[in-house]
C-alpha cells in the first residue's frame, strides 16, 4: 500500500523543503524565498501524482519556474530598489540574491560572469547535489542536451576562472567541434 497523499506530501516536505530553500536563495531576493518555497510546494500538492519518487529534481524544476516568475514580476513592477539585473540567456537575476564576493573569489566571480543558463546548470550539480540526469529533469531537457550544455558551461567557466586545467577533467562527451561535417 502506498502512502496517503498527506503522508506523501509530508515526506516530500521533510525530505526536500530545506533543499528548495537553498535553491530559492540562490535564485531570488531574500524576501521572495518564502514565496518560492510556498508556491513550489503548493504546486507539488496540486500535482502530487506527477511527483516522482525522488522528488527533488521535479521540485527544483518547479521552483525554477516560480523563481523566474517572481523575478519577472518584480522587474515589471518597476521596483527600482530591487536592483534586478537580467543576465545572459536567462530571465532576470538579482545581484543581491548571490553570495557576496570575496576579493579573491575567482570562482564566484567566474560563476557570476557566466550566462544564467550556464550558472544554473553548474550550481544545480555543485551546490544542489543533483546528478546529471536529475539536473536534466529539473531543467526540462534531455540527458543528451544536458551533457552538451554541461560541456560548454564547464569550458566557459574554466576560461573565466582561469582554470584551464579543469577542462582536462571534463568527462562528458565532447560535442561536435564545428567545421564542415
Amino acid at each position: 500500500m502506498g502512502d496517503s497523499p498527506d503522508e506523501r506530501f509530508d515526506r516530500l516536505w521533510a525530505d526536500h523543503a530545506a533543499a528548495v530553500v537553498r535553491y530559492a536563495r540562490s535564485r531570488v531576493l531574500p524576501d521572495d524565498v518564502e514565496d518560492v518555497v510556498a508556491d513550489t510546494f503548493t504546486v507539488a500538492w496540486r500535482r502530487l501524482d506527477e511527483v516522482p519518487e525522488f522528488g527533488l529534481p521535479w521540485l527544483l524544476g518547479v521552483a525554477r519556474g516560480v523563481a523566474a516568475n517572481a523575478r519577472r514580476s518584480r522587474r515589471r513592477q518597476g521596483a527600482l530598489h530591487d536592483r534586478l539585473v537580467s543576465l545572459a540567456d536567462g530571465t532576470v537575476e538579482d545581484d543581491d540574491a548571490w553570495p557576496s564576493l570575496d576579493d579573491d573569489s575567482s570562482t564566484l566571480a567566474a560563476l557570476r560572469a557566466l550566462s544564467e543558463a550556464d550558472r544554473e546548470l553548474l550550481t544545480l550539480l555543485a551546490w544542489h547535489g543533483l546528478t546529471q540526469d536529475e539536473a536534466a529533469q529539473a531543467l526540462g531537457c534531455s540527458r543528451g542536451a544536458l551533457k552538451v550544455r554541461l560541456h560548454r558551461a564547464r569550458r566557459r567557466f574554466a576560461q573565466l576562472a582561469g582554470a584551464a586545467r579543469d577542462i582536462d577533467q571534463d568527462r562528458t562527451p565532447a560535442p561536435h567541434r564545428g567545421g564542415t561535417p
Binding site: 516536505w13 523543503a17 530553500v21 514565496d35 510546494f41 518597476g78 527600482l80 537580467s86 540567456d89 530571465t91
Partner: protein, 383 residues
Amino acid sequence: MTDPLLDRLAQAAPADLDDDQLAALLTGARRRVDAERDGGPAPRARRLRPRTRVALVAAAAAVLTAVPVVVSVVGQDDGTGPSGLSVAVAQNGQFICSNGFATAVDPARADVRLLPDQLPTGWEYTQILVRHERSQNCDVPSLVALQLDPSGVVTGRLAVTGPVDAYINTPVVDRDSVPDTVFGQPARRFDLAPDPARSIDHELHRWVWSDDTGRQWSAEVVGFGLDEARRQLTGVTVDGPAVTWQAVDPGWSLIHLRTGPPYDLPTGGTSWMVSASGGLEGRGYDVYANPEPHLPAAAGAWVDDRLIEVAGHPAVISPVRGSEADGGPPGSAGFLTLAVDVEPGALAISRFSPGDLDAVEAMLGSLRQVAPDDPRIATYGEK
C-alpha cells in the same frame, strides 16, 4: 569519482541559513501551503504586503504576473528552448520574455541621466544604477484603449498585442484556458476572476491565437464580464498584421495604435534606477527609456488608475494599494504609484506613501537631464 571543477564550485557555495532562520522560513511557507491544501483562507502572502504588492501602472498586465506562471516557464529558459524564441505565452496567456540579457551601464555614460531638482523631504540618495536590458518589452501592444470616467479614472481596458513569434507550451496553455474563437481564428481564452489572494484585482479575459502566418496574438479586455468583454472586442478589427479599432460605447479613448508594420519584440531598453533612503524602504524612482515604439504611460494604465498631468506631463496615478484595508499590515497607509511621461520613450515611475504625493509629483515633474559629471552621479552612481 571527484570532479575538480564541481568540487571547486561546491566550496564556493553560499552558507546555509542558520537553524532558526531556516525553521522560521519553513514554518511560514508551510503555513501557506497547508492553507492552500485545506482550502481555507491563505495566510497573508508576502506579495500582498505593500512592500511587494505594487500598484501597477507601467505594466498593465503586471497585476496578473502574480499568477503563478510555473509550468509554462519550465523548459523555456534552459537555453534549449524551441527555436530560440524570445517571447513565450505564459500560463495566464500573457506574452513574456523567455530569454534576456542585460548589461550594467556606467551612469555617467548612460544616455538617460534624469535627476530631479530635489528629492522629497526626508529622502536621501543612496544609489544610482543603470542597466541596459535587451529582454524588456516583450508585450508591447499594438492597440490600447481605455474606458474613462469623467474624472479620468480607468474603468475598462482593451489591448491587442501582436503579431509576434511566441512559443506556446501547448499542454500548459490548453490546461489553463478554454477553446474559443476570436477574429475568426480558433483561440484559447484565459478567464481570470478577481482574487485578492492572487493579486488579481479585476476580471480579465484574454484570448491568444495564431494567425494565418503562424504568428501569435493576444487580446485582453479588463474590467468586464465575458459577454461584455466580447462585445467590446467587436470594435477591434484584425486584418493581416493590421489592427484597427472603433469604440463600441462612448467613454473610451484610444491610447495607442500601431499603424506601421508589426513591432520587432522584445525592444530592449535602458533602466535608470535612483534609490533613496530616509525611513521608508524602497524609496526612489525608475526611468525606463525605450526605443520605438514610444508608448505613453497611459498604455500601461490598469482599471482604477487615473490619468492626470504632472508639471504638464501626461501621467498615471494608481489608487492606494497595500493598506491595511487592502491586505497590508496593521496600520499601513499603503502605497501609491505614479508614472510620468518625462519625454517620448522615457517613463518615470515611483512608488511611495500617500503622504508624499505632492513631493513625489514635484520630484518627477522636475526631472531633467544632468551632465555626466553631476556630483550626484559621481557620488551615488554604481559603475
